[in-house]
């Protein structure tokens, strides 16, 4: 594994400025970013988004580059399985703007998810909406040189694709070659699955990872600093070597407890990773 595969995400810095986030990554020697396109660091809606030229310049001046991007969907008006034709078009406009912005930022990957169903509606209906949306977005991304990587959600968030099998089914249903798989090790641990199972199932179609520590099966602690959970870091890195995984290892440190001092969280996290990826 190479150092530049470690990509930092900025979500846990949302109580701080983007400048503060970049300064800390520069200090840690991080070079790759997965940009979480949320306020106050980035503004994205269905009609407009932040000045990507300025963001790209600011990021480069700190010695970093945006390799992947995520358009936030939790606590937003938009989700991938949006009910209703009108609202579904608003969601498409939002997520396609995210893809446009990602391309302008120089990213090669945009992460997506399945969205979620309404309690009481047939799951198949929500899954159909999700597959249709993801197909459209995959085509839109393909035309702009962006690969879409679909991450599973936890069962408490969505039942559409909350496991390896659910992810496989949804990617198949979406029927577009540009929609690939990604693993979120927190969601993976929640389901009691292993990284080897994911790498075996998808092979080179597993193009991306949110690579975080977690507390284990069925627990809600799923996006932690390495060392705070129970996942076998060294074993997982060895597994990736065996399967020849060369994608990013995005550090999506998304637990609220890290937001008071995200810099300290990153120091511990990167310190732990550097023991095995010098």
């Amino acid at each position: 594994m190479r150092r530049e595969q470690i990509a930092q995400m900025n979500q846990h810095y949302k109580r701080y400025s983007y400048r503060f986030f970049l300064e800390n990554q520069k200090r840690l020697g991080v070079t790759s970013l997965e940009l979480w396109m949320g306020a106050p660091h980035f503004y994205l809606d269905r009609l407009r988004y932040s000045d990507c030229t300025a963001i790209r310049r600011q990021t480069a001046s700190a010695g970093l580059s945006v390799k992947a991007a995520t358009a936030p969907s939790f606590a937003r008006q938009y989700q991938y399985a949006m009910p209703g034709k009108e609202w579904s078009e608003y969601a498409f406009a939002y997520f396609s703007n995210g893809i446009r912005a990602a391309a302008e930022l120089g990213a090669g990957i945009v992460t997506v998810n399945a969205g979620w169903e309404l309690i009481g509606e047939p799951l198949s209906e929500a899954a159909k909406r999700s597959a249709q949306m993801l197909h459209r977005l995959a085509e839109f991304a393909w035309q702009r040189g962006i690969v879409l990587a679909m991450e599973p959600l936890m069962t408490t968030e969505s039942c559409i694709a909350d496991s390896l099998r659910g992810t496989k089914n949804l990617i198949r249903a979406s029927a577009h070659h540009n929609l690939k798989a990604m693993v979120d090790t927190g969601a993976m641990a929640y389901q009691g699955e292993t990284l080897e199972e994911w790498l075996e199932a998808f092979g080179e179609d597993l193009v991306h990872m949110h690579f975080v520590d977690a507390a284990g099966r069925g627990d809600s602690f799923t996006h932690g600093v390495w060392g705070d959970g129970v996942l076998p870091l060294q074993d997982m890195l060895s597994c990736m070597e065996r399967y020849g995984y060369r994608g990013l290892l995005t550090q999506e440190i998304a637990e609220e407890r890290y937001e008071d001092d995200p810099a300290q969280a990153d120091r511990r996290n990167i310190g732990m990773l550097r023991r095995y990826i010098p």
């Binding site: 503060f20 106050p40 503004y43 407009r48 606590a75 008006q77």
Partner: protein
Amino acid sequence: MLLYGVLHSSERYQRMYLVDCLRDQAEAGWKDVEIYGQVPHLFADAYGISGLEEIKKGLEAFALEAAVFRPGVYQYDLCADPEDPFGAASMGYYRHMAAAAVKLGAKMLSLNSFMRIVDGDLPERKKRAVKAVKMLSAEAGPVKILCENGGKYSAFSALKELCDLKSAVPEIQIQMNLAGALEAGEKLSDWLKAFGEDLKVISVPGFLLREMQEGTHTDGEWPKDCLSALFQSSFCGWIRLENYEAGYREAFRLCGIPAGGL
């Protein structure tokens, strides 16, 4: 205490149909509800709103009224610079929500979107927030703006800062987040002294009530004592139950309030 009603918020029903919330509220016997304005019940952004008519019809069908209209917070920030696209979008969104509150016939419009950026210019952010609240108050007409202590990540995190906001915009009304206030070492009596009858809503967190029910609360009797004190106080307004799965009846039983309210 003079209890106007108990507010169940449709915020809990974000993965359910609005009718489920309205039916639950009607069956509980309370007339007023907090409508949380977000998908899948309402779509709103900086450019418009969709779904308001369905909410109005639902309220009429169950003979309910929207005591509070609470916009989905999303990413917007009333402390942001309105000259900036993000700040402009935030104001655009809240202006639509103010208009929505008027159309729904809500009594109050809850605003809690004041980001505290740790390395930002807090005084400047607060100044912009005051300006935004004044503008929205004017646009909301008969609907009163309701602001609360937003916790450590809010520009108006505690009692003192909320007092400053109230001084700057005297017509606003106040919601007390009970858990937040108690964590900050504030007492209900402090709040009543500061705001009097402009303290209109007290938001009681579900986790406290659940802990009391389960007997797992280990921080002494203060939630129950506090709620008992509340019912003996001069407070006139609504109690808002936050995310309490067992329902309001159980919550009040724990506090010694007779079923069916006061």
